[in-house]
């Protein structure tokens, strides 16, 4: 419990320090950092804008923000499952893309009614992600290939192959993206009108909360979770204790891929309804920041992803209002990531000093 408190404190300090550095950069560029940060909140529907277009309100922005937030929760949970087992899934973006593309091609362009199509989309996406994640785990276990290198290779292979298929079969000549999917298959009720205002209602968000609880339960209460954690802490010791390390590696990467797959469908068939060829989204990388910041704990991740996504979703509005490049958002995210990478050091320092005082 004490350790959790320290981790929380250091996470808060990391974020504040990064925001402070970001503020200094904004000041140097001659803009007001406070109003820029306020723009971030406004862009996510957490603070009122000066004026709204017809049919829109603060809640419209907020529902769109939740829609944007959902894939990140899954992606960060995916990262956390791998990290608990001592693995590093940097291929989340690739797994999301594979899941998103195959689901789009099979369900998205079909005429299956929504009540069947939506659950089917989630299942197919999760299954595709699981296959890719499991493959990475298998390569690690069977051939001793560093999972970072193999997942990066798979990322690029997936990105180019899918770009090829989109450009030869599914391209929309106007938007230069894949053709939009049918509304029935979409996991977000897009622009639903309730009481005079429009909202985006993501189904995935409910699933994300359930997933966070399930992952928490698996790690805290089940044998599987215990084994994965043991492998992550000390592979040799786990082996001596009779845990099948190879199987645990494949299992954890498969679960990680499973979650990344759902992240993919909630992104490509939820927040968006099409895929941009030749692009790997940054969600998979930002998920690492979220996961580190939330110290790989499912509930920590919920809080951390909420925060990081404010920065990335709000940056568009901030860019238009304050005249700052929206890339400042990824710089701040990068700084948070940098600070969280040093967490272990500061945590050890802090606890060491506490012990000395006691």
């Amino acid at each position: 419990m004490r350790k959790n408190k320290n981790a929380l404190m250091i996470a808060v300090i990391s974020v504040l320090a990064s925001l402070l550095v970001g503020a200094v950069v904004i000041l140097i560029l001659g803009k007001n950092p406070l109003s820029a940060y306020y723009n971030l909140l406004q862009g996510c529907g957490l603070a009122p804008k000066a004026k709204y277009a017809g049919g829109k309100s603060m809640l419209t922005d907020f529902s769109s923000y939740v829609d944007f937030w959902t894939p990140m929760i899954f992606a960060a949970l995916s990262c956390a499952v791998a990290m608990k087992a001592g693995l590093f899934n940097i291929g989340i973006s690739g797994q999301m893309l594979v899941a998103g593309f195959i689901t789009t091609a099979t369900i998205g362009y079909s005429t299956i009614p929504g009540i069947v199509a939506k659950p089917l989309a989630v299942l197919i996406g999760a299954f595709c992600g699981m296959l890719v994640g499991g493959l990475i785990g298998y390569l690690k276990y069977k051939f001793n290939i560093n999972e970072v290198v193999s997942s990066i290779m798979l990322n690029y292979i997936a990105s180019y192959m899918i770009s090829f298929f989109i450009q030869t079969r599914y391209i929309d000549p106007l938007s230069r993206q894949s053709k939009p999917i049918s509304d029935a298959a979409r996991l977000t009720f897009h622009q639903i009108r309730i009481g005079g205002y429009k909202y985006d209602l993501p189904i995935g968000f409910i699933l994300a909360i359930i997933a966070a609880c399930v992952i928490k339960f698996i790690f805290d209460k089940t044998v599987l979770g215990f084994e994965l954690k043991a492998v992550g802490l000390n592979r040799t010791a786990a082996n001596y204790a009779g845990i099948r390390v190879g199987r645990s590696i494949v299992t954890s990467m498969a679960i990680s891929g499973f979650l990344a797959g759902i992240a993919g469908v909630t992104y490509y068939l939820g927040y968006f309804a099409s895929i941009q060829p030749r692009t790997l989204i940054s969600t998979g990388y930002d998920a690492i920041a979220v996961c580190l910041l939330g110290s790989s704990d499912p509930f920590g991740i919920l809080i951390a992803s909420f925060l990081i996504e404010i920065i990335s979703k709000g940056s568009t509005y901030m860019s238009s209002q304050a005249g700052l490049e929206s890339e400042i958002a990824s710089v701040i995210t990068g700084l948070i990531l940098l600070a969280s990478a040093c967490n272990a050091f500061f945590l050890a320092k802090y606890e060491g000093r506490k012990r000395k005082e006691a």
Binding site: L29, F88, I90, L139, F143, N144, I145, N146, V148, V149, S150, I152, M153, L154, N155, Y156, I157, Y160, M161, S163, F164, Q167, T168, R278, Y285, I288, A289, L292, E325, E327, I328, S330, V331, T333, G334, L335, L337, L338, A341, C342, A344, F345
Partner: protein
Amino acid sequence: MNAINNIIIDGMSFALPLFIMAIGGIYSEKSGVTNLALEGLQGMGAFVGALVAYNLVLKMGPDSRVPYYMAMLFAMIGGAVYSMLHAFLCINLKANQVISGVVINILGMALTSFLTKTINRNFYGAASDKFDLGVSARFTVPGLSKIPVLGAFFTSVYPFEVIIIVIAFIAWYFLYRTAFGLRLRACGDNPHAVDAAGGNVAATRFIAVMVSGALSGLAGMCFAYSISAKFSNDIYMGYGYLAIAGYIFGNWNLLPSLAACLIFGFAKSGGYQLVKALGMPSAYSDLVMTLPYVVTLFLLIFLSKRNQAPKALGEIYDKSKR
């Protein structure tokens, strides 16, 4: 015939920058510091180099050769300085080296794209996300280039290829023929022995990481001057990771790593020539782009088992464990 020439020319100009980056990676990993940061280091190096070159071209005109070589120099400095962050995190703050490498990559990408846009807007008054450099001039060695097939190695050579070969020789000499190189390699296998013999593990590792930064920066600049002809986010195409795959495949030795990089290079240029020769539409070039990555994966599958990484790779050196 012409196709074979093109395969060799394009393959070499892609393989050599990969190779110099792989040498950097070997330096870092032989000293015991896992370096997944190559991708970010090459990007940051290319950014600094491109910024310098862009400014110099504005001052000295497009005909001067000075900007080109200054860009190479400053790319190395930029890469080395940025790599100090990785070294500091891994060595002084004892951070997880894999995580630190990934952080360096993500932060590098964010910083360079933010700075490119901001500098373009505030100093050059243009809304642009790139620095145009143009493709480097090439030269052909008279006489040698007339030899059938092999002559292609001396045809349309980028000047940076010569620089890379010279630096590669120097790097080999330092790593295998000097006391410093011996100590560096020992740091990756048995840092406690180095410490006992009076060597400074932390300092040696710090220098090794900076070497990898400098060499990666140079490689990034070469890509900017050849493949993309500009600095932009296109520089982050995963070449850093290809270089990593290259030296893992090369078992952390220089010559086998060169072989791996040449395979990547020729797989890529060969694929392009194939698409061209068969007259396929441009979408098929996407399929060809996957070739180096597919080849890498398969090579790793066949070779990873027997490969032996440096023994203390990725381990944080703790004096008190001696």
